[in-house]
């Protein structure tokens, strides 16, 4: 099931997006480039501030950790050197989590990380902050049971059914197929990790053969659900189409 995205739900933010996938729902807002506090100002590049707000309560060290991960990943895709001495502020409010989230017995921050990244990217895309590349991310869960294969971007229900897990991996790839982020947890060998990485790359990045315009669009009913980059292109395309309605109508 492809994620659902609602773009620009907030009118005052420079860019915003609501993202819902597997019953994780996140609202993201981006303000930038804006004025930066003197103490955070960097002479040659933009400061990036990421705030993650949990669904319930106030932020804890767990959210700080997520913020640090998001910060370092987004810094490598935002062209920070083209907007020096400014601030790009990214706020991500987690709106709802699946009920099973806490009961899975795995590190919950890994489960939400891909969703946070996607929300941040969508909000960034529509805030017109200069970006070097896009980033797509996916969770790979390898269950203990021998017969069961790895789960790709599973929902909480699927995870519940397949637990316990041998290892959980989160990968994020940029549009040019570079691995920007990897968080792996559990017990695994390098071969398993390598395999998980390859699977994740297939899901995140578009096939190199199918770079063409027509082919991907025609079979979008099928492939858009399987490929995150294609899904992202669809989201942007529908948004642009909607904004160009006035032209088409005449």
């Amino acid at each position: 099931m492809a994620p659902e995205a609602l773009l620009s739900p907030l009118h005052r933010a420079d860019g915003s997006a609501t993202y819902t996938h597997n019953r994780y729902s996140i609202l993201g807002a981006v303000n930038g480039p804006i004025e930066v506090q003197r103490r955070d100002e960097m002479p040659e590049e933009a400061t990036i501030e990421v705030n993650v707000r949990p669904a319930v309560g106030v932020g804890s060290p767990k959210e700080r950790h997520l913020e640090t991960l998001l910060h370092s990943t987004l810094r490598s895709i935002i062209l920070v050197r083209s907007i020096p001495r400014t601030l790009v502020q990214i706020t991500l409010q987690i709106r709802s989590l699946p009920e099973e989230d806490a009961m899975l017995g795995v590190n919950t921050s890994l489960l939400i990380l891909p969703h946070l990244l996607h929300t941040a990217l969508l909000a960034l895309l529509f805030s017109s902050v200069p970006l070097r590349a896009i980033v797509t991310s996916v969770l790979v869960a390898i269950p203990f049971t021998k017969g069961a294969g790895p789960l790709l971007a599973p929902s909480a229900k699927e995870l519940m059914r397949a637990k316990p897990f041998k290892s959980i991996h989160v990968f994020a790839f940029s549009g040019d197929r570079k691995m920007l982020l990897n968080e792996s947890d559990g017990v695994f060998g390098f071969e398993e990790w390598d395999e998980a990485c390859e699977m994740a790359e297939e899901v995140c990045c578009k096939e190199e053969g199918g770079v063409g315009l027509g082919e991907g669009m025609e079979v979008d009913g099928q492939s858009a659900t399987e490929n995150l980059e294609q899904w992202l292109r669809e989201v942007v395309k529908s948004k642009v189409e909607r904004e160009q309605r006035w032209r088409v109508a005449t």
């Binding site: 767990k62 950790h65 370092s72 490598s76 920007l180 968080e183 947890d185 017990v187 390598d194």
Partner: protein, 398 residues
Amino acid sequence: MASTATPPPPTPLSFPRPIFAALTPHPFLHAHLSASKQKQPLRANGRTAHESRQLGVNTGSLTHCNGSAVVRVGNTAVVCGVRAEILTAEEGTVDEFPASSNTNGGDEDEDEEENGYRNGAEDERERYKEISALRLLVPNVELCTGSTPALLPGNAPSAFAQTLVTRIRNLLLSTKVVGARQLRIVHAGPDASLGGDTGGPNPNREGDEVMREGGEGEGEMEIHERLVKGYWTLYIDTMFISLDGNALDAAWLAILSALSDTRLPHAYFDDELEMILCSDDAARAKKLELAGLPVPSTFAVFESDGRWGEDDDGDGEGEGEGKSWVLSDPDTFEESVCQESITVVVDCSTSTKAQIRKIEKSGGGVVDREVMKMLVKRSLERWKEWKKTLSTNSRAFF
């Protein structure tokens, strides 16, 4: 012409080293890595790219802790103290885990045997659940005033410290170095004559056997559910006296050494007083046994066309664009100029095959699958160094 052209180059180079490093850190490190004529490029701190710093471990230096360690990794110095406190199992807390300590535990053990995965006798999920839900392991990280120039004293814990605590807590929980069984304070039940005898050299072992026997007979389940009378909660306080990069590795080394040094006093449930008592007898205190030896190795990636791209074009003409070095065990200076960092946690102690327990990578796209393979190899070498250091300093591991 030549005579006028030659003087300018020495002038920028005539800066003393520290000023060059402070003014333009990125070209400074780049000059070091690319200039040396040897096969192995040397870093600004004199190490080769693959070379890690020496480890120094000193355990048992704090007298008021159950276990402690002072650790040095280069200029990073960390003190870690483990303090054990008793968490009495109130009605509510025990009720949360009645099934997990008996019935589920048995089932899971069988499952794991089927899968060919052995993790002691304890089922892995329940252990995680108990320790994380009751918060039996409480790590904390404090950066002392003056440990690093970046730290502003008197402020709330920085995002850096909070991130570090979260990473350490995740590592403690996911590697499961401390098993819940050792932290349980077990009572053999009022009718069992074992009540006083559980104070053998390894009381929990015996308690566990009692539980297992009970697990087979359905009727005895009720009694054994009341066995866990309390838990030891370990407060793991880590303090950075001096921070010169690679905080996680140093903190983890300190934590592992302190935990391996930890002795828990013999605690038992007294039927008459109806409370948990601790025996004064040091001989009956029990050493905490750690499961496995997970060793983190942190790497930083230095990119020549990183933040100061234009400067580099002038400096290193021979180097192609996008040349990068993976530096083992980075210090603060290197961390400040590197964007990408990778931490690989490996453990070779529990099985013959090397296991990866965790990989954390963020900040850039230089490290791909090929490079990661090399990093895992480097981590395995580092594991041997850790094992050597720790086994000479404490007998807990072997």
